[in-house]
């Protein structure tokens, strides 16, 4: 019987397999950041262990770095200590680090592909759930906890139960691909299958709606696999994938021979079977806006805030969850989404802070001004993205419109640095999670695409970006 792409990558990485229970899986790339690694390095020291493969390990600082002037000292002492600790750990254990002064610094899931560290057919882990992003390149990439970070540092392997393959087919063509984006596709998927819909699975995204996407858009899709509960999400590599990685700083020297091999091997066999299947037709999908406190609580921009009864369809627990969410978000059922005013706009995060995201958002912003009551910011995903955007003059477009233009980092996606919402503030955000307090205690997050966020910044409330003149 044929195998799925995921099963092929899995099988190619088995070090030890037993009759039952977990297998020992080899890890090709380990990405490390400051928040989930200090206790892992401590563990190594306590047990007198080394990092087995520093040459397969790369670190950067992204979660709590300030996005303002990099030459100033970090005011938050606990953040400063965590950042210094990573620098010391990398030095002590011989790990390549892109620190706050490096032109390669950025959100770990943005720099991996940009530097050519992410490779098709590889296994990639990081102490961060959005590691699923790298699946866009046909890699098996997933988030792990700190104990597993320590385990990978020490052994370059992990004991893993084999997840089940889940096929999500995206069929059709978007009528206006500048207004209806990859973010709207993945939010639609999560809205339909739920935040636990992918638990225990590795999703393979397939179909015309996926192969049509650029690499950066595919990363947005795979990034949010975890928001549907999936262990990982991946897309079979094609010529777009191979072109993207060609000639990057750390692209392997024998790249072309690897590409020849990947072309032959990295695809799902026609007679392979998936345990689970879901199909989304995208011809008529609308821009999406989340209204609640998990990414599944999302609707079309043309809809109104649903009532807990309509949302839960008879499930009492879901109904209670929706009631609580509406209370937290201070929203009344029946309110048109386009009537919801925003105080803040955040364009950033590992979901939507790549060059294409900024180019698309800049088209909305160009020759317009941010609404006077809105504070809006752009936080590029990496210093490389920032530099490329500045070479194109995008910074000027955003600054002229009264956006703040920041240094790279995770920033207000999770508010570990000073970029946070105040209690009660409402934010149109291109990030991935609208959990209670995620962007700041009491803050209210609405997940949207970069163009929808930009449009909300200009108008001061949500608008259907399909109706805006983007020429």
């Amino acid at each position: 019987m044929g195998k799925t792409l995921f099963e092929k990558i899995w099988d190619a990485h088995i070090v030890v397999e037993k009759q039952s229970g977990p297998s020992l899986i080899y890890i090709d790339r380990h990405l490390v950041h400051e928040v989930t690694s200090p206790q892992a390095f401590d563990g190594l020291r306590m047990n007198n262990r080394k990092v087995r493969r520093p040459d397969l390990t790369v670190a950067t600082m992204d979660h709590n770095v300030p996005t303002t002037n990099r030459r100033l000292p970090i005011l938050d002492q606990t953040s400063a200590i965590q950042i210094q600790t990573l620098a010391k750990n990398c030095k002590d254990f011989g790990i390549q680090l892109f620190d706050i002064a490096s032109p390669n610094q950025g959100i770990v899931h943005v720099i991996g592909p940009q530097l050519g560290i992410t490779l098709p057919g590889s296994t990639i882990v990081c102490g961060d759930s959005h590691t699923s992003t790298h699946g866009a390149f046909g890699a098996l990439a997933f988030g792990i906890g700190t104990s597993e970070v320590e385990h990978v540092l020490a052994s370059q392997t992990l004991w893993l139960e084999k997840p089940k393959p889940f096929e999500i087919r995206v069929e059709g063509k978007r009528k206006n691909p500048h207004a209806v984006t990859a973010k709207d596709i993945i939010l639609s998927i999560i809205k339909n299958i739920g935040t636990g819909g992918g638990t225990g699975t590795v999703v393979e995204y397939r179909g015309e709606g996926i192969t049509d996407l650029s690499m950066e858009q595919r990363m947005t899709i795979c990034n949010m696999s975890i928001e549907a509960g999936a262990r990982a999400g991946l897309i079979a590599p094609d010529e777009k994938t191979f072109d993207y990685l060609r000639g990057r700083k750390y692209t392997p020297k024998n790249y072309e021979s690897l590409v020849d091999y990947w072309r032959e091997t990295l695809k799902t066999d026609s007679d392979a079977t998936f345990e689970k299947k879901y199909v989304l037709h995208i011809d008529d999908i609308a821009p999406q806006v989340s209204w609640g406190t998990n990414p599944g609580m999302t609707c079309d921009v043309t809809d109104s805030v649903p009532s807990p009864d309509d949302y839960s369809k008879g499930d009492q627990n879901q109904k209670k969850g929706a009631q609580k969410a509406l209370e937290y978000m201070d929203l009344k059922p029946g309110t048109p989404i386009t009537d919801i005013k925003v105080d803040r706009v955040f364009i950033g995060s590992c979901t939507n802070a790549r060059l294409e995201d900024l180019i698309e958002a800049s088209k909305v912003v160009k020759n317009r001004k941010v609404s006077p009551h809105v504070r809006a910011m752009v936080v590029p995903g990496s210093q490389m993205v920032k530099q490329q955007a500045e070479e194109m003059g995008l910074d000027k477009i955003f600054i002229d419109a009264n956006f703040e233009w920041r240094e790279a980092g995770c920033s207000m996606c999770l508010g570990m640095n000073p970029d946070i919402l105040s209690p009660g503030e409402r934010c149109a955000s291109t990030s991935n999670r609208n959990f209670e307090g995620r962007q700041g205690t009491g803050g209210r997050t609405h997940l949207v695409s970069p163009v929808m966020a930009a449009a909300a910044a200009i108008e001061g409330h949500f608008v259907d970006v399909r109706e805006m003149d983007l020429s």
Binding site: V16, G21, R29, S79, G145, T199, N294, N317
Partner: protein, 194 residues
């Protein structure tokens, strides 16, 4: 890690679905560089108001549950961020068992690294346990929950069960496979980063 022993306490009912790790331990407490002391941050935004006073309507602030080691929660517990701090907070607070109809994958796996037993039971049984006022006993060795009325069996992977019962250091175990790992590395097609 301490070996997992039999536990007998009342349960703490947390009647919520989709409890994400941002709720279990909010991000402002992730900046610490050690594993200990996270218990005081557990469910912080639900436990305390803006002036850091205890919210009386939150279950953890009800003194009757002070000695409970068993948390019973709704579907998809531990979703979202991979932060192991969530498990460190539960453990440091005093919980040894979490029962729910389902768990997010990364959280589930993190539990076993820290001596916490996550138990999956059907929704009806979870709801029944949430309303139980008597002590219940968790017997991992025999994979059974003993209540005054009945015995509820649960399933768990044998390898993971063993790790908890023995309190094993799984890195030490893995390093015994050093030869197999080296052999794998010799034939690997994926080159070094540098």
């Amino acid at each position: 890690m301490e070996p997992f022993k039999k536990i007998k306490t009342i349960v703490t009912p947390l009647d919520k679905v989709n409890v994400d790790t941002d709720q279990i331990v909010p991000k402002q407490f992730l900046k610490l560089i050690q594993k200990s002391g996270f218990g005081k941050f557990l469910f912080y935004n639900w436990r305390y108001d803006e002036d850091n006073h205890e919210k009386q309507d939150f279950v953890l602030n009800d003194k009757k549950y002070k000695n409970s080691k068993i948390l019973v929660a709704g579907d998809n517990f531990g979703c979202g961020s991979s932060r192991e701090h969530a498990v460190w907070a539960l453990q440091d607070y005093g919980f040894s068992v979490v029962i729910a109809p389902s768990f997010a994958d990364i959280f589930y796996s993190n539990c076993f690294k820290n001596g916490i037993l996550p138990i999956v039971l059907d929704e009806q049984t979870v709801e029944k346990l949430q309303h139980m006022h008597d002590e219940i006993e968790i017997d991992l060795e025999n994979q059974v929950i003993i209540t005054p009325e009945e015995q509820i069996p649960f399933s768990i992977d044998a390898h993971r069960k063993n790790i908890l019962l023995e309190g094993l250091d799984d890195i030490a175990q893995t390093l015994q496979f050093g030869d197999e790992i080296s052999k794998f590395e010799k034939q690997s097609k994926i080159p070094s980063v540098l």
